[in-house]
């Protein structure tokens, strides 16, 4: 059966996706800045269109802790956060990934204090890239909704058992209304069976969970965790294929490429700004310019092989990102550069553009300037702010 269409914000699309995924427990705290995702979910639980336990806790730290506890008895869990709230969860992020609890969380990418600012950039999640979670970045509301449903299938997969952070650019996706296809419940039920895991407290099959491991064993657990995130790459592809067959929307894996096969100049970016790059690339192509776009979807697991393949023929590559590791360069750039260095396929020019911090607009004209900049022979600064 075909689903319905609706004119929804990114937040509302996420809430709709969560309802379709039938979580048992939702825990959230309305910190500033929170999102309307948790308000919509509270309304759904209130009107019983979503049968879940809604825990209104006293902090983001407690919200994720509650999800971990619920996941440890085999419940499917959801929470949403943003910016400072995500940072307040930092300790628990490692508990969730280390304990192999497949919590799914939506994060609205917003700037970090100080100066105080609630607008969009990606410093919040990228500063927590090493917390052991799968990290994915959406471009629009439809992809956000679909990622929630796919997210549970990936996170709960027995080869993965790793929590997943689904990132939406604050305001630009979260508060923007657009046309969204809502999958039918019975199709989602067929795609996403109830959560089953052996990694839970069960009186009939008692086992140790969330335990201590000293120097003799600790690293072995960390290696298993690393393998699980790497294993997610394959599971993501399989999940997207299955999703496409059922819902008719196919996704391109860990990254998406546009005109990269013969492109001389390529811009690499992630999140909603890719939507601004897209029409610029199409326009420059129509003028005969050999330009291309790489949109990184997953930062963890990182699309190392895909990056090499997409960029191997390029003469100039720019990495555009909304974050910076102060005193060095953008974190996305560090990752892209490392993938290229290891394969010894360095493009003659590789530049790092940092923009959009604290919600600063990145326009189509800015993007055209970046493509022009990539053609000039000046190697410039380590980081160029736009």
């Amino acid at each position: 059966m075909l689903g319905q269409k609706a004119f929804l914000s990114g937040n509302e699309a996420v809430a709709a996706g969560v309802r379709l995924a039938r979580p048992h427990v939702i825990a959230a705290y309305p910190i500033t800045p929170q999102t309307t995702v948790i308000e919509r979910l509270a309304e759904m639980v209130e009107d019983e269109s979503l049968k879940a336990e809604y825990l209104h806790v006293e902090s983001e730290h407690s919200a994720l802790s509650a999800c971990i506890g619920a996941s440890a008895v085999g419940a499917r869990t959801f929470t949403a956060t943003s910016s400072q709230g995500l940072l307040y969860m930092a300790e628990c992020l490692h508990y969730a990934s280390g304990g192999r609890f497949p919590v799914v969380m939506m994060n609205a990418n917003r700037s970090l204090a100080l100066p105080w600012n609630i607008y969009g950039d990606q410093r919040d999640s990228l500063s927590l890239l090493d917390c052991g979670w799968i990290q994915v970045y959406a471009e629009d509301a439809q992809e956000s909704l679909d990622l929630i449903i796919q997210g549970y299938a990936v996170a709960e997969h027995s080869d993965v058992l790793t929590p997943m952070m689904i990132n939406l650019d604050g305001f630009v996706i979260t508060h923007t209304y657009e046309l969204v296809s809502l999958p039918a419940q019975q199709d989602v039920d067929a795609f996403l069976p109830p959560f089953r895991t052996v990694n839970k407290m069960d009186l009939d099959h008692p086992m140790s969970l969330a335990f201590t491991a000293g120097p003799a064993y600790n690293q072995a657990f960390k290696q298993l965790q690393h393998q699980a995130v790497l294993a997610a790459s394959k599971v993501i592809l399989e999940t997207e294929e299955r999703f496409g067959q059922l819902f008719g929307r196919y996704y391109p894996g860990l990254l998406e490429t546009l005109f990269c096969d013969d492109a001389e100049t390529i811009l690499v970016t992630l999140g909603s700004v890719a939507g601004t790059v897209r029409p610029v690339v199409e326009r420059l192509r129509s003028l005969g310019e050999r330009v291309g776009l790489v949109r990184i979807r997953y930062m963890r697991p990182f699309p190392e092989a895909e990056i090499r393949k997409a960029l191997s023929g390029a003469k100039a590559v720019g990495v555009l990102e909304k974050d910076i590791s102060f005193g060095y360069e953008g974190t996305v750039f560090t990752n892209v550069n490392s993938a290229l260095m290891r394969a010894k396929v360095m493009p003659p020019r590789l530049l790092n553009f940092v923009g959009g911090l604290g919600g600063k607009d990145i326009s189509a004209i800015d993007i055209e300037r970046l493509f022009l900049r990539l053609k000039s022979p000046d190697d410039g600064e380590t980081v160029e702010f736009i």
């Binding site: 004119f7 607008y119 939507g275 601004t276 897209r278």
Partner: protein, 182 residues
Amino acid sequence: MIEIRFHGRGGQGAFTAARLLGVAVTRFDNRYALAFPSFGPERRGSPVLGFIRIDDRKIADRSSITRCDVVVVLDDTLLEPLVLSGLQAGGLLLVNTVSNELPLSIPDHVRAVHVDATALARQYLGRPITNTAMLGALAALSEVVTLQSLLAAVRHEMKGSTAEKNAELLEMTYRALGGQIT
């Protein structure tokens, strides 16, 4: 691509106007739209903006709207040269005001139309909320959207007597500005 900016004060429904227009063109007209508010804290009475991009194909670009085909002003206390910012040659400035003259010098390349939507809103809604009235005016004065799609959107998004009163206000404003009933 059509780009429109709505100016209002918090509580007057400027963003709701953009969102309703989005519902009208996407759900009832098979087009695509991105509708978004001026981002940031929401405060009743403070100046707010609503934006919409409309196109026949899926819209990828989510950067700020800087050029506009239409500017709609719900509250004439907001009239200052800034409301004309980005309005293209041949663009439409649509203002809700009781006054017969706009306290603003309008460039020759802009078509300015004013309507006392507050009076119509008081008459049909019993309160001075003019966002649906201004959408009726927009349908009468431009090719952006049809009356039928707007009425369908209002009935889809609002309930009961609120929906019917707003639909009536929208249609009456459309007629008052010379919109033809087909």
